[in-house]
Amino acid sequence: MRDDILSAEAGPCRPRSREEMARRAAADIADGWYVNLGIGIPTLIANHVPADREVIFQSENGLLGFGPAPDEGMIDPYLINAGKQHVTLLKGAALLHQADSFAMIRGRHLDLCVLGAFQVAANGDIANWATSSNDAAPAVGGAMDLALGARRVWVMMEHTTREGEPRLVESCAYPLTALGVVSRIYTNLAVLDVTPQGFRLVELVAGLTAAELQAVTAAPILV
């Protein structure tokens, strides 16, 4: 067990808020990376990129280099991201059609994609598009292309379901999005890497012990 992980402050466990999770993930994004942020929590990351880094965000509906939401009254109805939110274009942005946009994604040109997920398995499998194998009205969108195409796939999600069920598991029970692609996971409780040996702890939130984290995780965590 490593010292830096053991040295987590004593005191009550303080899970990270979504914004804190986003800030923590943003800190690991390098200057000059091309990044796609999945719909949902991952989109918060864009607000937390350190000011000294130039990070170029891609949206799979055909934007490369989009910026923050426009001010009220400055909305261009023709500029939306994959989550259907209005956005702006940064200087240096480029526009693409869907075949070119997914060529960029599938062709391994993005340095990083951060996805939300229902479950991640210890072998890097991800399930993030359907919650049961008999989903009444399914939708997949670009999830499978993004999960397979980006050079790195990180997941950002709550460590457990609302009911307290672990989302980090030995094997995904939900329909798979892609196999063996996730390399890092940011949760409200910890940062973990997916290694050939399974989950490996990188960082715990204040007040939590590795044993407590293991108790809400359904696969062994190497520390």
């Binding site: 509906n61 259907k84 526009l95 059609h97 997914f102 009444a136 009205a137 969108g141 670009g142 999005t177």
Partner: protein, 226 residues
């Protein structure tokens, strides 16, 4: 002389047959050919297969086409969006067949149809239940799935500006599926916000060359909001 502008939506949609496969551009509310979808409803063709990224929402556009019972089968990547009540109702009651396709595979299958590529291998979806029953092959370090070109009988698209040869430009995220679908159908019909004289569009900035466009309806946004 080539002049692909037609004076009415009815003329634009003339000849669409029952059972046809209709490609419909747009992503979310951007770049959707709403006028042409309304025209298709009025035209009356039924038992359609519709290929589109979304399945519409509320009671307009694609949702209204679905509600009118004209669609037998939907090929789609993301049909379930907030407000897609009509889709969900038809799907759950078994009155609508759905082929769910990953968005990138949908785009690439359309591109392949336009490009004369009958089939291709892609890593997307390998090992997932979306590709059950499809041919799989190990290529390089990855399992890949054989996917086939997706042709349309008709493509309904939306663009920003057109000239009489059918050259098109788009705006912002309005490209999405439109330039990919235009070459993939036997008959491509475009609704456009603006018109240009031949030669006004810089050859360097034309996204869809006119060869892919058969009929154009000029439909300025003011009219759309009237």
């Amino acid at each position: 002389m080539i002049d692909k502008f037609v004076p009415s939506v009815a003329e634009a949609l003339a000849g669409v047959k029952d059972g046809a496969t209709i490609l419909v551009g747009g992503f979310g509310a951007v770049g959707q050919p709403d006028l042409l979808i309304e025209g298709l409803i009025a035209q009356g063709a039924s038992a359609l297969t519709v290929v589109a990224n979304n399945a519409g929402y509320g009671q307009v556009g694609l949702a209204r086409l679905l509600a009118a019972g004209r669609v037998r089968r939907l090929v789609c990547s993301y049909p379930r969006i907030p407000g897609s009540v009509i889709f969900e109702e038809l799907y759950k009651s078994g009155r609508l067949e759905l082929e769910l396709v990953p968005q990138g595979t949908l785009a690439e299958r359309l591109r392949a149809a336009g490009a004369g590529i009958p089939a291709f291998f892609t890593p997307t979806g390998a090992g997932t239940r979306l590709v059950d029953g499809k041919e799989t092959r190990r290529l390089g370090a990855r399992d890949c799935v054989l996917e086939h070109a997706l042709h349309g009988d008709v493509a309904l698209i939306q663009a920003w500006t057109a000239d009489r040869w059918g050259n098109l430009t788009y705006r912002g995220s309005g490209r999405n599926f439109n330039p990919v679908m235009a070459p993939a159908a036997a008959l491509t019909i475009a609704q456009v916000e603006h018109t240009a004289q031949l030669g006004e569009l810089d050859p360097e900035v034309i996204v869809t060359p006119g060869i892919y466009v058969d009929r154009i309806v000029h439909h300025p946004a003011e009219a759309a909001h009237a």
